[in-house]
Symmetry: D2
Subunit: 347 residues, 4 copies
């Protein structure tokens, strides 16, 4: 059994980790920390976990995280890098759901997150936890920086186009029009995500610049091995879970004859959690609700030069906690899908 600790179990990605890990056949939950809720049974805050999780939150000091095999950080940015050195010294593997170990360039990290990186030496060895791109590296990783929710959809949606030896599309002018449910904003007391504000409403936000842009650009460039240019426009959808990314790319003249549907199917043929839908499909976010699946559909309207790639995921699963468990499975030599075979909830 893998001994697992969770730092910061009170937010949405934390409770989602608990939902996935509590019944995981190879996991023993050792500790869940929350300084503020020290002593409170987890199931008292989250009655959905009554009968499934008997642990109480404990303050970080009491939590004996160094006895774990792996610790998940479901915390705000900055927490994981502060605690990482001690855990690594004790041989504990780390999976960070926040941004501390995503960006390779500490200057970029500091610019977008407003704080200096406290352990660049660990960052060097951290692996970006996107299994469909980095599976081999994840197998031996000691620290995982998990992708953000939007970046997962954009990278997997563009990967088959960029991963070829030569450019197929205008890589300097990619456009990602992305839409997310409000759970992506986290479990924070804020006016803008109140039901009375966000329901029966739709808006774009952060058009000027969003933290997921540099991460995605870095990832796309790593896939392509070339410089790429991306415009990313996020929108807020009045729903709880789900991301729908509509990706645009202009086909280069020399690639006009390519069968893009076949390209996508072939690219992901060994990936259990990526489902390339039949040509002409319109994947719905609910088709992956509460599951680790990501679905993609490839469109080429009027057989013209513009590709329209539709990607859906559950932002809390494939976009966060589920992807973390997927990485853990790989890191510990388990079947990649262990504990992740949930049927999506429909309706």
């Amino acid at each position: 059994m893998i001994k697992v600790g969770i730092v910061g179990g009170t937010g949405y990605t934390g409770v989602e980790l608990l939902r996935l890990l509590a019944p995981h056949p190879q996991v023993e939950l050792i500790a869940i920390t929350s300084r503020k809720e020290d002593g409170m049974p987890v199931a008292e805050m989250y009655p959905s976990l009554r009968g499934h999780v008997s642990l109480a939150f404990s303050s970080p000091e009491k939590a004996r995280l160094t006895e774990c095999d792996v610790v998940f950080f479901a915390t705000p940015h900055g927490v994981a890098m502060a605690q990482a050195p001690e855990l690594r010294a004790a041989g504990v593997k780390i999976i960070d759901l926040a941004a501390d170990f995503r960006l390779k360039d500490t200057a970029v990290f500091e610019k977008w997150y407003g704080l200096p990186h406290s352990c660049p030496e660990l960052l060097k060895d951290a692996v970006y936890g996107l299994p469909e791109v980095n599976r081999e590296a994840i197998k031996t990783a000691q620290i995982i920086g998990l992708p953000g929710c939007y970046p997962t959809t954009m990278q997997l949606g563009y990967a088959p186009l960029l991963a070829q030896g030569k450019a197929l599309v205008n890589e300097a002018a990619l456009i990602a029009d992305c839409k997310s449910g409000v759970s992506g904003a986290g479990r924070k007391a804020e006016i803008s995500t109140l039901l009375a504000e966000a329901s029966d409403n739709f808006k774009a936000y952060s058009v000027k610049g969003h933290r997921h842009l540099p991460e995605t650009t870095q990832g796309l460039q790593a896939i392509a091995g070339r410089k790429i240019g991306l415009t990313f426009v996020p929108h807020l959808v009045p729903m709880i879970r789900g991301i729908h990314s509509t990706l645009y790319a202009t086909i280069l003249p020399e690639a006009r004859e390519l069968d893009f549907q076949a390209l996508y199917e072939s690219h992901f043929k060994n990936d259990r959690f990526v489902d390339v839908m039949p040509a002409g499909s319109h994947p719905e976010t609910r088709s992956v609700r509460a599951s680790n699946m990501l679905r993609i559909a490839v469109h080429r309207p009027d057989n013209g030069d513009l590709l329209v790639i539709l990607v859906v995921e559950d932002n809390l699963v494939k976009g966060a906690a589920g992807q973390g468990v997927q990485c853990m499975n790989i890191m510990f030599g388990l079947d990649e899908a262990t504990g992740l075979t949930h049927v999506p909830i429909m309706p």
Copy 2:
């Protein structure tokens, strides 16, 4: 033109007052106060008001409220009673949307609101602003304590039964099962009313006791002229606006022959904002959305001894701001419906 000031214009009842008062043909908006947003144009916080309201928020000190004819308080409990003496000394009428001037018994106020009443001498003369019950008193009132949103539905829903010379129902055992949209909780940064928490969800709350209980009991007893007993169970509905109250009352043997539909129609025949629906109707909250109308349907399942009264209102209009404007119209001798003839928004 009536010179109107609003204290606390940043919450939902405040912006609703602005929606109703800005185009009101007899109103001149003089000042809207907000200490925190001093100087910010109202339409910057609420783009829905662009082109309709050109005022900026001002701190209470600058607002010259004493030059107004009437001041609305759309503030937390306790604010109106603190400012009332100065305004009254200047001859300004007051309409309080909070609870400061609702409860006649200051001990009850202190018990439920946790603070002593600071101006019991003004409270004495305050009028409870429910026009369908207190129209005459409102005409000459200087201070109005506006009913809460739930209490408006319960009092108007039970009024025809209780306002008769003798009891028609078991007045000791009334049951009000009420359901409200989340705007009733106000525009406050709280986790429990986030879209990700409150949507696709339903729950009861405050079953042990809710502040609207003593107010409603006081009002029902005033209508009946007798002691009544009420159980009030509020629930939270995943919608923005609207209250649906399902009221139960057991018919006394001596009233079994009564035509309750006729009783209700007759009782409200002169009330423009109460619509007694045809027998057998199921009023929907959306049928009054964004309007000052309250609709009632009277049911007697299986022609038995239990009356089931269905009442709907928009909690921000007839349950708050609209009722306030209705009272203002009465206080200043205008037609009661001036500025309140909006067609409900459907769908």
Copy 3:
């Protein structure tokens, strides 16, 4: 392995059965019928099942249902009783999610469902599939009439009060104020449950009389062994899944000293899918979303004579498909919770 057939797999209870049965460790799915969709892969209609269900819909003629061990009917009323005799002749057990085998009195059935009962001789032996009440009878049942969604909450919510030797509450005047998400109306093309009609809205319906009333009355009387009187008022909540029933009962003078919290905890102490919450709780429908759990909280406002019982379930699971699987487990000697241990989805 239990060979399972499903008749009518295209509605919400049908797809929910598929979600629960596909990964069930003791079940082999043999056939799913739909005359209209004959030949269409199930996962084409429900992409959420891609990778989980490889069956196609087949017309009833081709489906070889008589080779199954058990057949679930997720069909409109009237279908199960038409096909039951042939299946029973072949020794196939039947679990009907509709009303054909719920009501013992065929005259009552005919009155509320508008069609004569076609196999009263089978009805005689049918068992009402509420395990917490009828577990022993279910073990040997050949035909199960599964409770409706509302009736499950009302019967389990009132059971501890009624199951005692003598009356504790006024059993002639029970009031059930129930609220359901729209999936309870089924997957039918109807205007009244369009998102544009039913969202941001709340209403009561069928106050005059609802089909679940006679079923619930029959069940409550069976539990009590006495006549009871119930008023049932259903409401429509703008959410997908979930029922919240608020049950009222007036405590008799001789029962005023009883500890009702203890009564409930004791009554359900051996029931894995009924969770009596701590005193003072307000269970939320989302706390059981997509799980077979039903949660109950017992309130006695102001320590008076009125009990307020709050009950939540997922109408498609404990209120339908999950309860069916629970019955199947019992009928085939499996652990009652096999395949039913899902952690509820939150948020």
Copy 4:
């Protein structure tokens, strides 16, 4: 007073016309037709109109539409062109909310709507009812083909870019990523827009081709006086009202120095129902809910070559009924905003 008739008053655009026209100071409602609901009082179907509309639906035969000054068609495609000749012969003006008089090329009409155009001679004189583009022509128009909901946002969103003497952006590769609430699908009994299907969900649809594409292309080309190329991807948002269009255009090198914010403000400076928001704004659909306003924000991320134009409207008002009333006002020489000054409903 303008005598107004409405054909097809039972759908969402029909009831919205009633909401706007009933209190319109210059309008007398003469007739509302519905063959199916002949004789039913309008307010019985739409209780929101109780006290505002006393008319009953009448069959087209009885409706004496030829006595009207203007008739609105809120009908499926094909109805208006069938009745237009008779009405025109009687001198009645026509405003069609469907597509019959939008497309100038009857071959294109037949291709996308699947039926031949029955009165091409009237089509020739029909004016496209987009006041901000065609105000002068509307003044003297006898037949108005009102724009679709999506096309209104796309044309007004791109107009300032295209209306210049020379191209400012790559007009061959415009991309419109549009999102609509479900009321855009009309009040039709369909499974795909049930609350249980469409809420807590997001999807694209009709990526292959949507009827609003040829209409928008025609309109954009009319504005530009040049050929344009547009990709239009519509999405369904789980909300009732509102469209948010995110428009992309690549700035040509020669236009890089242009102040696009100033261009937009200047272009619309005389249009009462187009609000160019301050630079950096993110307009929300609710900021125009139930009003005829359309808001636009201009973005240029990272000061690069891609313009991102955000446009919001209420699809039932500026996208349909409101625009129709706006045209009527212009056609009859009234102030363009008569009866259209509603403050948007927030929250």
